[in-house]
């Protein structure tokens, strides 16, 4: 997020797109509610599903799955046509405005309405509201990124915000809501194939030499590595062995049958986890590790705040901390990694990572520090890009709408989209292990539009088969107005109806994120 999560309380208009905030980030939904009810902010919801926040929204645009770029271009078209853009901000702080203007010229409300299914007048109204009632905050989540055009979607939202002069101001910003506790931190720590910690490129010779020296190795690779979505299909071919820590790709990755087949082709697979997950069952060696309540360390939340994790419990049986396991393997491979404790690891991170240089354990005992925090006396940076963009000027890009990789046809007439429900989390490894959450949401449910249900002759609670080009499953239905005609929604928490066996593995060319949010399916009433 460019702004803190409580910053929506300072917004006058809030645009949420591709986030069912109430289910996935309930605490942020609290703040949105407070902003609207107590502070009079206007809420714009852009989502194909009738999510709970629609109930308090000023305007709701229900667009067709995967048509985000067209819709955002349409909003920008109206803003520019009516001369509502923040011209001084644009002139001083950005480049590429003329390219953007030329690109969005054809995205008239009528043209966009044809692509998105949103009434032209609503597009005009939202554009006016967002541009004139600032500061405006944009919040988004995986509904934006999990498309083959995910990178384009994000860039378009950045452009919309810059166009209105909302990046770098309190109550504004472009704010991705990150779905996992430490997905921000895993990225910050260099858990990516192209960067060391703090986004220092592995191909940058200065960074390369710095890490080689600090780690005392002379064979550091300067070649960008492979992403998860590239390594899996390469399994058994280029990739012979995988070391998987705390991940369950069999359920979480798109096209699950294919993932399982690929992983089975490996020579050697090690899984380190707290449970024998669907993925761990395929491993050659399974190493028992500790959960968050059993270890010390830090998580970096979605607003870039580094927060302490503290050991509260002794681990079960012979489970070891992940850090201890990693160090023990390294030592056996001739590379000792000795750290007294988690804070000693952070000291090394501080030394090698400019944005984390000032994030010392002694400072975050009772406060959270937001990176970039380049020095021990730096207060942290809750709002990014306040005076200038980190890279100098903000760029507008001319981005054309591209349709999703797979659309409905005669054989597969419906579209499937996926996500989470508020009672469960990700592949259910944790949330399905106890009675509390399971009692609230015990089994997978597919949301089907009431009109579609009538045509299929199914009622709420009856079973259907959902079939895609990649697989099929049987699931109970929940008939409602949540989804639009021709759209079915399923959560991916459930191994017994593993929806990712149906999803499409087509990737965004830049981010390599699969298009979980759109694929073509056929729904058949189950006997």
């Amino acid at each position: 997020m460019t702004n803190p999560l409580q910053d929506v309380l300072k917004s006058k208009v809030i645009l949420i797109i591709g986030t069912n905030t109430t289910s996935n980030h309930p605490i942020i939904a609290n703040y949105i509610y407070e902003a609207v009810q107590k502070h009079g902010a206007k809420l714009i919801v852009i989502d194909p599903r009738k999510i709970p926040l629609v109930g308090i929204s000023h305007l709701w645009l229900r667009h067709k799955l995967g048509t985000d770029v067209a819709l955002i271009n349409g909003l920008m078209h109206v803003i520019i046509r009516e001369n509502l853009q923040a011209q001084t901000y644009i002139d001083e702080r950005t480049t590429g405005f003329e390219d953007l203007k030329a690109c969005v010229a054809k995205y008239t409300p009528e043209y966009v309405s044809g692509i998105t299914g949103v009434p032209a007048q609503d597009i005009v109204e939202v554009a006016r509201l967002f541009a004139t009632e600032g500061p405006g905050s944009i919040l988004y989540a995986m509904g934006i990124t999990q498309h083959i055009s995910g990178t384009d979607n994000v860039k378009s939202l950045g452009a919309l915000s810059m166009l209105c002069g909302y990046v770098g101001v309190n109550g504004g910003g472009v704010n991705p809501l990150r779905g996992q506790n430490n997905v921000q931190g895993a990225c910050d720590m260099g858990g990516l194939p192209n960067v060391f910690t703090g986004y220092q490129a592995v191909t940058d010779s200065v960074a390369h030499d710095k890490f080689a020296k600090a780690w005392n190795v002379d064979n550091l690779s300067a070649k960008v590595g492979m992403t998860v979505t590239e390594m899996v299909p390469a399994a058994g071919k280029l990739i012979k062995a995988l070391y998987i820590m705390g991940e369950n790709p069999i359920l979480s990755d798109a096209d699950g049958h294919h993932v399982e087949k690929c992983l089975s082709a490996l020579d050697f697979m090690v899984v380190q986890d707290i449970f024998l997950t669907e993925t761990a069952k395929l491993a050659d060696v399974v190493l028992p590790s500790t959960c968050f309540a059993e270890k010390d360390g830090t998580f970096s939340n979605t607003e870039r705040k580094v927060l302490r994790v503290r050991k509260a419990l002794d681990p079960p049986g012979e489970a070891w901390d992940d850090s201890r396991v990693i160090s023990a393997i390294a030592e056996r491979m001739g590379y000792p990694m000795n750290y007294a404790d988690a804070s000693a690891v952070m000291t090394e991170i501080n030394a090698l990572t400019p944005s984390y240089a000032g994030i010392l354990y002694s400072r975050i005992e009772n406060t959270g520090l937001v990176w970039p925090c380049p020095a021990p006396d730096h207060p942290g940076t809750p709002v990014l890009h306040t005076k200038a963009f980190t890279k100098g000027k903000g760029s507008f890009f001319a981005i054309e709408y591209r349709a999703p990789a797979e659309l409905s046809d005669a054989e597969y007439p419906s579209l499937l989209t996926t996500g989470r429900v508020h009672q469960h989390y990700h592949t259910g490894t944790m949330t399905r292990k106890g009675s509390a959450l399971n009692s609230l949401y015990p089994e997978p449910l597919a949301e089907i539009n009431a009109e579609d249900a009538k045509i299929l002759n199914i009622s709420d609670g009856s079973y259907v088969h959902i079939i895609s080009r990649r697989g099929r499953l049987k699931v109970k239905t929940s008939v409602s107005e949540m989804t639009d005609r021709g759209v079915v929604f399923m959560p991916f928490h459930f191994f017994e109806a593993a929806v990712n066996r149906l999803t499409n593995g087509a990737l965004d060319p830049v981010s390599k994120i699969p298009e979980f949010k759109v694929c073509a399916v056929r729904i058949e009433k189950a006997a």
């Binding site: 996992q180 959960c291 927060l307 994790v309 489970a319």
Partner: protein, 347 residues
């Protein structure tokens, strides 16, 4: 924002014009007793404890709902206020049983603390109602209607913080307070449980109960979504017995969701992995750490030597700590010698 000057307990204080006496007193370091008041909620004014005297006013007023005014002279403590507060507490105790010895909340109950502080020893209790078996909006919380003092914090929090309104306060035919609940709209977030100042709402998930003076409270960060909610894990005998929200660090202001508050059972699950496993002929066999680590190190080394470091890949984890992630990528880069390291940011 314009400021006003007023006097409280003989101390001259400057406050913002929109501040209430309670807010202004708090920022001046003066503690006025409260029960129904909650910082995140609009003033409720149901308990009568935060009363103060204003020079020129015959009647005491509620500090939570009275704004400060220029030149106002306020008294927050006097013999009269003490007696009035005692009366308010006695009134609450008429329909609140002194069942503290069997109450989860004992030791961190605001009512218990105030009753003790105000030296109330004898109250004519009303005969308790017959049954405590009343359904609540969610099965994850137990509702003890006898203990409810009708402060309305739960009702207000559900409305104002969550925007749901699953609770309404009513009276039963015998005149007792009774919450009318709507399970269909309740999302089991436990905001009501978090704000309840008494034991009228208690955690109903853990089989082991631990009271404030028995448990170790460990401040940490929730491990579900990316909000980073600040929580206390309440620990007894190496088990989590409950999770409570914390209001520091500017993240969640004490609120949690159903997963963060009640989704802790997995920690003590008997399905947790407790020993390394090595697969032999398709079947997992328990192994010692030495055996498992030797096999992993030997096989990685062999594959690296035979196929090169880029034949090995690592999936680090968005579920693990920064320190775990740092060491994992360091291992892949410095020990294996590849940049094939990634995690599920994309999924």
């Amino acid at each position: 924002m314009s400021m006003v000057k007023f006097t409280i307990d003989g101390k001259e204080v400057v406050a913002t014009e929109s501040a209430t006496i309670l807010q202004a007193a708090k920022s001046a370091g003066i503690k006025i007793p409260t029960l129904c008041y909650h910082e995140r909620l609009n003033p409720i004014g149901s308990c009568g404890l935060c009363i103060v005297e204003i020079d020129g006013n015959a009647d005491a007023v509620s500090a939570c709902s009275t704004p400060v005014m220029e030149g106002m002279i306020v008294n927050s403590h006097s013999d009269r206020l003490f007696r009035l507060r005692q009366e308010s507490l006695k009134l609450l105790l008429v329909s609140h049983p002194l069942d503290c010895p069997i109450c989860d909340k004992a030791g961190e109950c605001q009512l218990q603390d105030l009753v003790f502080e105000y030296g109330i020893k004898d109250v004519e209790c009303r005969a308790p109602r017959k049954s405590n078996n009343v359904l609540y909006a969610t099965s994850l919380i137990k509702y003890w209607p006898q203990r409810c003092i009708a402060c309305l914090r739960c009702v207000t929090a559900c409305k104002e913080i969550k925007g749901i309104g699953a609770l309404e306060m009513q009276s039963d035919p015998d005149g007792f307070n009774l919450l009318a609940v709507n399970p269909d709209v309740c999302v089991s977030c436990g905001e009501c449980l978090q704000v309840c100042p008494t034991g009228a709402l208690t955690e109903n998930v853990s089989r082991i109960k631990g009271r404030a003076f028995q448990v170790k409270k460990v401040p940490t960060t929730c491990s579900y979504c990316g909000c980073g909610c600040q929580i206390n894990l309440n620990i007894l005998n190496n088990q989590v017995v409950s999770v409570t929200g914390r209001d520091d660090l500017g993240v969640n202001q004490g609120s949690l969701c159903v997963k963060g508050r009640f989704g802790y059972e997995f920690i003590a699950s008997d399905q947790r992995l407790t020993k390394p496993l090595i697969k032999k002929d398709g079947i997992f066999k328990e192994a010692s750490w030495d055996e498992a680590l030797d096999l992993v190190a030997k096989t990685f080394t062999q594959i690296k030597n035979e196929n090169g470091p880029d034949a090995i890949g690592g999936f680090t984890s968005a579920r693990c700590t920064n320190e775990d992630n740092y060491l994992f990528q360091k291992f892949m880069r410095a020990v294996i010698g590849t940049n094939n390291v990634d995690h599920c940011a994309r999924l």
